[in-house]
């Protein structure tokens, strides 16, 4: 199987062809508002007052988004509150993106005539960059260039029965084709970690999975709170899920059946192709930005929705540069939000399709969207702000 993509100088392949303007701030916002074909970030996580660990995590997000194959060229500006820290120096961010071979331009208000001057220069540069990017043509490439990240959310029992298994089928096909597939949400592995660890490619990877889950479970216990009042979340319980273990055992179905090649940190680029577990947090406003920064050229939200009332327009979560797909297996969710959903697998529950037939249909939808068909959420300008997954206190 194949799709039509943009081949980059480092050999990676994009499913989109954006010009990225980072970090967040008024300069980036003004340039993106003015120039078609650009993407920017909306976040309050700029690094100020953060520990070195968390500043590095923010840097990984910025650099990773810039290096993402869906990005043709990048503008980095120097007017971020975090820019004085060594990890977040604009020159460092620009250099590490440029080493992928793509064009990176800098804006610095202290040299470019203040904020107004930097905005004017940025608009001019961005217009040139999107124009140049538009000359690149999609070409047919193998599916080993797919890199996909998934989260399941508003989970209900349809997620574990049909929704996540359909994602699992898709993941197995992508991995078998030589592609890359990312899953995570460590809290939702508690209770299912032995089943996952058995699928690790090496004993060291199995131990790394168990260690990541144990550390999260210890933090949950140290809170002194009943996890059942935190996770499963109220919408999960309304959808029929009774315990964290039940949620976890349903959730891991989205990882398919392939061997797990490693455990990655948030926004960490995988060292090779294959299936990876990402030690991240389930929040939908952070997880997709992390996948995109890890190199995902597409992301999926597998939605239950059984416990959610009146949620008919599904808006985009911040995957920034990666097309974002909505999938669900819940017939009521689908009926309520058909024009927002890219893939429906409730057919398996209804007995209208086998899991294999649904999975094959899913794979065709994914390769179509990889080739340029818009995902439903891409038809909206609206996207939620990024809440980067940061793990340490602020001072």
């Amino acid at each position: 199987m194949s799709f039509l993509g943009y081949v980059r100088r480092d050999g990676s392949v994009g499913t989109r062809n954006h010009v990225l303007v980072i970090p967040q701030g008024i300069i980036a916002k003004a340039v993106c508002d003015f120039v078609a074909g650009t993407k920017g970030l909306l976040t309050t996580d700029h690094g100020s007052g953060r520990t070195a660990h968390d500043r590095e995590q923010i840097a990984r997000v910025l650099i990773g988004l810039g290096r993402n194959p869906n990005v043709a060229a990048v503008i980095v500006h120097a007017a971020s509150p975090g820019a004085g820290y060594p990890e977040l120096k604009p020159e460092r961010i620009a250099d590490e993106i440029a080493s992928s071979g793509k064009r990176v331009e800098m804006l610095d208000p202290t040299k470019d005539g203040g904020t107004y001057g930097a905005i004017m220069k940025g608009i001019k540069l961005a217009r040139e960059l999107v124009y140049e990017a538009s000359k690149q043509r999609r070409v047919e490439v193998g599916d080993e260039h797919l890199c996909i990240g998934v989260k399941c959310g508003y989970s209900d029992t349809t997620s574990g029965i049909a929704g996540n298994p359909a994602v699992g089928y898709l993941y197995d096909k992508i991995v078998a084709a030589g592609g890359t597939a990312l899953f995570g949400e460590t809290t939702e592995v508690i209770g299912a970690e032995q089943a996952l660890a058995r699928r690790a490619a090496t004993p060291e990877i199995a131990q790394a999975i168990l260690d990541a889950v144990a550390a999260t479970e210890e933090r949950a216990k140290a809170s002194g709170q009943d996890i059942r009042t935190i996770n499963p979340v109220p919408s999960n319980i309304k959808g029929g899920i009774s315990s964290l273990e039940e949620k976890s055992l349903g959730a891991i179905h989205k990882a398919g059946t392939a061997l797990i090649q490693g455990v990655l940190q948030y926004a960490e680029h995988p060292p090779c192709k294959g299936l990876f577990f990402v030690n991240n947090w389930m929040g939908h406003l952070s997880i997709f930005a992390g996948y995109a920064a890890a190199g995902a050229n597409m992301v999926l939200f597998q939605l239950g929705g059984g416990g959610v009332a009146g949620r008919t327009l599904l808006e985009g979560s911040p995957s920034i540069v990666a097309p974002f797909l909505w999938a669900t297996a819940n017939p009521r969710t689908y009926a309520a939000a058909q024009d927002s959903v890219d893939f429906y697998s409730g057919t398996v529950i209804e007995g209208k399709e086998t899991p294999e037939e649904a999975g094959e249909r899913f794979y065709r939808i994914v390769t179509d969207i990889a080739s340029g068909t818009l995902s439903r959420s891409e038809t909206l300008y609206y996207t939620e702000p990024v809440d980067m997954y940061l793990e340490e206190p602020r001072f």
Binding site: T157, I161, K221, D226, R228, G240, S243, L244, E245
Partner: protein
């Protein structure tokens, strides 16, 4: 026509309703070659779980062939299984705190 509920693994002692089931209705649970037939003792909403065998208090509740919690009371065959009678045991900070006190 009996209402449908699904098990995920032969070891499971609960099945998930894939239709709205009313109290007293017959329920069919396909298990590959055969079908388990039972009667719902109470309403089982779409997506919720029904006990397909009696589960004594303190016994493990299994779905996907794995442990999803324990019964905190005796659960009769055909009863709704949810947070009122199933207790998750993992990551329980409240239990850890009680143990430490």
């Amino acid at each position: 026509m009996p209402k449908r509920a699904l098990i995920m693994h032969p070891y499971d002692n609960v099945a998930t309703a894939v239709e709205e089931i009313q109290a007293g209705e017959d329920v069919a649970v396909p298990t590959g070659a055969t079908t388990i037939s039972l009667q719902a003792l109470e309403a089982i909403p779409f997506g919720f779980k029904i006990a397909i065998q009696a589960i004594p208090s303190g016994q493990i509740i299994r779905k996907y062939g794995e442990t999803i919690g324990t019964a905190n009371t005796e659960i009769r065959k055909g009863a709704l299984v949810h947070i009122h009678n199933l207790e998750g045991t993992r990551a329980r900070g409240d239990l850890a705190k009680r143990g430490a006190a």
